[in-house]
């Protein structure tokens, strides 16, 4: 009997040990670092100095603003598109569902670096996107060299990469909505669009909340795309908090201040998740 109680610990042990060393310890250690400052390994405790420094750090404020603009614009567009595509793919009229599903999902398996490279080549001044735009008689768009359009490029690229991923999650949720609800609505003469807004969306609320939180967490940590696509430019227009953290820590080796920035991301994620739970209210 005694031996049997040890069994579960044997199974969970390796994960717990690895987690403690490579996840729990670093998380606690970086909290301590966030109250220290100095170069490289010459660190000393400076209390809340780092947090104060953040408030008057213009680059940090810019990065914070950029990250939030991307978050507020990109996440809703992506979630809405994913919902529509999932809904279309779920239609009874459709054949070759598997082929469409794979086509839409494929972007989600490519590496963030690879797709950022492809997009930056497509969006260059004389790249293929602008050539199409010019061919229809419109003006070329300075995708990567204008502060506004650089953000737009990031939004487009990120939406391309993540729509399919969210679509699959919504497709799963759609399978759980009872068919009878739609049948009853059709009999009452509700249009497809009406059904989408008054049956599909309310029933998918928990799934939408789940994907919104995941996307929010992802966007607040955004690093790979701006690093490759725009390198934070032009003039810091696409600098994100994640990139600023990397620059502070690994270009200027200011580990204390970089840890403070990391904890700002932790706090932002906690707050945003809490707000999203509150806004959508109730369950789970």
């Amino acid at each position: 009997m005694k031996q049997k109680t040890l069994v579960p610990y044997m199974f969970v042990g390796p994960a717990v040990i690895l987690f403690s060393i490579f996840m729990a310890y670093p998380i606690i250690y970086s909290l301590i670092l966030s109250f220290q400052s100095g170069q490289g390994s010459n660190l000393e405790f400076t209390g809340f100095d780092n947090f104060q420094r953040l408030l008057s750090d213009d680059i940090f404020i810019t990065a914070l603003k950029n990250t939030f603009i991307l978050l507020i614009v990109q996440v809703p567009i992506m979630i809405f598109l994913a919902l529509i595509i999932a809904n279309l793919l779920n239609s009874a009229l459709l054949k070759f569902k598997g082929v469409f599903r794979v086509s839409f999902f494929l972007p989600a398996v490519t590496s963030l670096v690879a797709y950022s490279i492809i997009f930056s080549i497509m969006l260059m001044n004389d790249g293929v996107v602008n050539q199409v735009i010019a061919a229809v008689g419109l003006d070329r768009i300075p995708w990567l060299s204008d502060p506004f359009w650089a953000k737009a490029s990031l939004v487009i690229a990120m939406t391309w990469r993540w729509v399919g991923y969210n679509m699959v999650i919504f497709l799963a949720g759609l399978q759980n909505i009872p068919e009878e609800l739609y049948e009853a609505a059709s009999m009452d003469g509700a249009s497809k669009i009406r059904q989408f807004f008054s049956i599909t969306i309310p029933n998918l609320k928990p799934v939408i909340l789940f994907t919104t939180i995941l996307s929010t967490i992802g966007t607040l940590q955004l690093f790979d795309e701006p690093f490759v696509l725009t390198n934070g430019g032009p003039s810091d227009a696409t600098l994100t908090i994640g990139m600023y953290l990397y620059q502070t820590g690994f270009r200027f080796f200011d580990f204390g201040y970089a840890s403070t920035i990391a904890y700002v991301i932790v706090i932002l994620i906690a707050v945003m998740t809490f707000i999203q739970f509150k806004v959508t209210g109730d369950q789970e």
């Binding site: 069994v7 199974f11 490579f22 839409f104 690879a114 999650i169 607040l220």
Partner: protein
């Protein structure tokens, strides 16, 4: 009424085909770029068909980053990571799903909560740790940190909850050891879930960028994303070469995904519902 349905169907197909083309075009563009000269991607009108420069682009790419070596690094790191992480995470998930033990709920909750902590909060301590161990620029520096991957544990646990406990108990009465039960009875029936989790872990490691960028410092240790980003950071960029690199880095993952996509999508569907 009948006619209305046909129009609807046609509209549906048009919308989805346009969407699918937008989704697939960048892949096509990368493959076209890989077979043409650097300038052809910007010529007027752009070259939309495959050219004959593929071998030349690959040769140049090989000279800049060493394709074989980078491919080996990426594959070795991703495969080793996937095998070890799958094993460790499934064991933990099995304990969470099928045993009642002291601390179970607390440990599980901590794992779940850690999913909300950004990776950024760990990289500086990890960097210092690896530096102290003299492990910077080694394979283990990249492989070890995320072996206990909370999302994989969560995914496997959700699937293991559905495994009938009575089978485990019956085997115990028959005198089977705990390891034997785990390997011979539980795991064989978990193949779809294991495949889904394996793809998830492999994709994660193959595509991972920030940590390898920090932990690896010499060209002969680079993984694909890191090598590609250095190629793209040069002042004079050879786009044919870059696109060849992007294509080579993407093909294995697409083949891997197409082979296992049925399990992957059903595994994702299974976990999202619960």
């Amino acid at each position: 009424m009948k006619k209305n349905k046909t129009t609807k169907r046609i509209l549906l197909y048009i919308a989805l085909i346009i969407g699918a083309l937008v989704s697939l075009f960048p892949f096509y563009w990368a493959a076209i770029g890989a077979t043409n000269t650097s300038g052809s991607m910007f010529s007027q009108p752009p070259t939309l068909l495959p050219g004959s420069m593929l071998m030349e682009n690959i040769r140049n790419l090989n000279e800049s980053i060493g394709i074989g070596r980078v491919m080996f690094n990426s594959l070795f790191i991703a495969v080793t990571y996937t095998v070890l992480a799958l094993f460790i995470c499934t064991m933990a998930a099995y304990a969470f799903a099928k045993f009642d033990f002291k601390g179970r709920n607390i440990i599980f909750t901590i794992f779940l909560l850690s999913m909300m902590v950004p990776y950024h909060a760990t990289i500086i301590p990890l960097f210092k740790m690896m530096a102290a161990l003299n492990w910077l620029n080694t394979y283990q520096a990249v492989i070890l940190p995320n072996l206990a991957y909370p999302f994989a544990i969560f995914l496997m646990r959700q699937n293991l909850l559905a495994f009938p406990t009575s089978l485990i108990e019956a085997a115990r009465i028959d005198g089977a050891g705990e390891w034997k039960i785990f390997f011979r009875i539980v795991l064989p029936s978990m193949k779809p879930a294991l495949a889904a989790t394996a793809i998830f872990l492999f994709l994660y490691q193959w595509n991972s960028f920030l940590w390898p960028l920090i932990a690896l410092s010499t060209t002969d240790m680079y993984t694909f994303p890191v090598a590609l980003s250095t190629l793209f950071g040069l002042s004079r960029i050879d786009y044919g070469q870059v696109m060849a690199g992007v294509t080579i880095a993407t093909i294995p993952i697409i083949i891997f995904f197409l082979l296992l996509q049925r399990q992957f999508i059903s595994g994702m569907l299974g976990s999202a519902v619960k």
